[in-house]
Symmetry: C2
Subunit: 222 residues, 2 copies
DNA sequence: AGGTATTTTTAGGCAGGGCTAAAAACAATG
DNA sequence: CATTGTTTTTAGCCCTGCCTAAAAATACCT
C-alpha cells in the first residue's frame, strides 16, 4: 500500500510530467512545498519501490506502476470533489482541501460507491477530467481564454483549481464549465478582456483569463 | 491538531473508561493491538500535550480536552457509518473499517455537512449513539439479550460492532435496531436462546446474544 | 577552456510511532 | 515477610518523512 506521501508525490509528478519528458527535483519540491533535499531522499525510496525511474541529476518519470497509483489517486480526488458539491452542499471553492485528504483513505469499494452515486461522471466541478476506473485519462484539448481574440465564441471547459479566491471570482462572473462566452474586447496593453457571458458583459484580467480554459466554437472576426 | 494515532488512542481510552475509573496500559495496548511499551511511550506524549492524566503504574484517564477530541472522533466515525449506509449503499458489516479512516480526515465543515445530510441523526447503523456536536453522548441504558429470560419481550437497541460476521449473521436473523423480539426458550446448559423476531423463530448462541443489546418492554413469565 | 552560477545530492539531525528484551515495580501467596 | 508471578516501564533500535547546511555536479558565459 502506498503511503499518503507517496501518493501525493506521484500525483504531483504526473501533473508536472504533462508536456515535459522528465520532472526535475526542484520543480517537484516547489510543487509539493518541500525542501529539495527531502525530495531527493524520497525519490530514491520511490525508485526502490519501483514507482518511479530516477537517475541522480536527471530528474524522474513515473513507471507504469507509479502512474497507476497517481491516476487512481487523481480519480479519487476528483470523484470526492464532485461528490462534495452534488451530495453535501459544498461550493467548488471549498472542495480541494477536503479532497486532498479524502483521496488517501478511499478504498476501492468506496471509490466504486462514489462513482455509482455520481453516475460515472466524466468531469469534476472545475471541469477537470475524472480518470476512468481502468486508468484512462480523457484528456480534452482546450485553450486558455487569454489567447482568444475579439469575436471568438467559445464554450468554457474548465477553470484551474489553483486558488479558492479565483474560483469564487469566476463563479460570480458566471464563468463555470459548460457556459458559453464571446470575447468582445481585448486591451492590448495589459491583455485584459471584456466578454459576454450569461447575458452580461464582464471584465477579466489577463491573469484570470489565463486560468480559464475553453473550446473554440466560432471565430467571428469582430 | 491531533494526529491519527492520538485520536485513536483517545477514542479507545474513552471506550475502556466506561464503568472503570482508570484505564491500564495493558488494556489499552490490547485494545489498540500494540505492544505495551509503545503505549507507555505514547501516554507520556499525550500527557505532555494535556490530553490525558497519566501516572506511571497507575493507568490513564482523559482530561476534558482529551475527552473532547475522543468524543468528536467518535461522532465523526458514527456519522460516516450512517452516511455510508444511507447514501452510498453500504451494508452495516462493511462500514467500520472505512469509518475508522474517514474519521481522521473530517473537517468541522465536513462533519456539519454529513450531519445535515443525515438530519442530525441520533444513532448509527449499529444502534450506537452519535454524540452531539457539543460533545454530549446520549447514553441509552440497555441490557444484553443474553440476560433475558423466557417470556421477556424487548426492543432491540443495538448490535455490538465487533465483527462483520456477527453483523451479517444478525442481519440474516432479522436482528437489527428497532426490531421487536420475544424470548421463547433458553437452554440452560449453554445459554443459547430461541427467540421470535420478525414473525419467525430463530436460534441464537449465548455468544451471539451477549452482543445484542435490548430494552425490556414486558416480562411475561412464560 | 575556465570560472562563476545554479541545481542537486550528501551529511547530520529531529519528531512521530512502533518493536523486542531486560529491568523495575507492584501484587499475591505460603 | 520473603519469594514468585504479573504488570509496567526503560533501554536500545528501526523506519518514515521532513529540515538545514555543506559539498558536489551540471550549466552557463565570457
Ligand atoms: Mn493529498
Ligand atoms: Mn478539481
Ligand atoms: Mn481510526
Ligand atoms: Mn458503529
Amino acid at each position: 500500500m502506498p503511503t499518503i506521501s507517496a501518493e501525493d508525490y506521484l500525483k504531483h509528478i504526473l501533473k508536472l510530467q504533462e508536456g515535459e519528458e522528465r520532472v526535475s527535483t526542484s520543480a517537484l519540491a516547489t510543487s509539493l512545498s518541500l525542501a529539495d533535499a527531502s525530495v531527493t531522499e524520497m525519490l530514491k525510496k520511490l525508485a526502490a519501490r519501483g514507482l518511479v525511474r530516477y537517475q541522480p541529476y536527471q530528474g524522474v518519470t513515473l513507471t507504469e506502476k507509479g502512474r497507476g497509483i497517481a491516476v487512481r489517486t487523481l480519480r479519487r480526488h476528483r470523484l470526492w470533489e464532485l461528490f462534495l458539491v452534488r451530495h453535501l452542499g459544498y461550493s467548488w471553492d471549498q472542495i480541494h482541501e477536503e479532497a486532498e485528504r479524502l483521496e488517501h483513505v478511499t478504498s476501492e469499494a468506496l471509490e466504486t460507491a462514489l462513482d455509482r452515486a455520481l453516475g460515472s461522471p466524466q468531469f469534476d466541478p472545475h471541469g477537470d477530467p475524472i480518470p476512468s476506473a481502468e486508468g484512462r485519462v480523457h484528456g480534452g484539448a482546450s485553450s486558455a481564454l487569454a489567447a482568444l481574440r475579439p469575436g471568438a465564441v467559445a464554450k468554457i471547459r474548465r477553470v484551474a483549481d489553483v486558488d479558492p479566491e479565483l474560483l469564487r471570482h469566476a463563479d460570480r462572473l458566471g464563468i463555470v464549465p459548460e457556459a458559453s462566452l464571446e470575447v468582445r474586447e481585448r486591451l492590448d496593453f495589459d491583455g485584459s478582456l471584456r466578454v459576454r457571458v450569461a447575458g452580461g458583459d464582464r471584465f477579466l484580467s489577463a491573469e484570470v483569463a489565463r486560468h480559464i480554459f475553453v473550446e473554440l466554437v466560432e471565430e467571428r472576426s469582430g
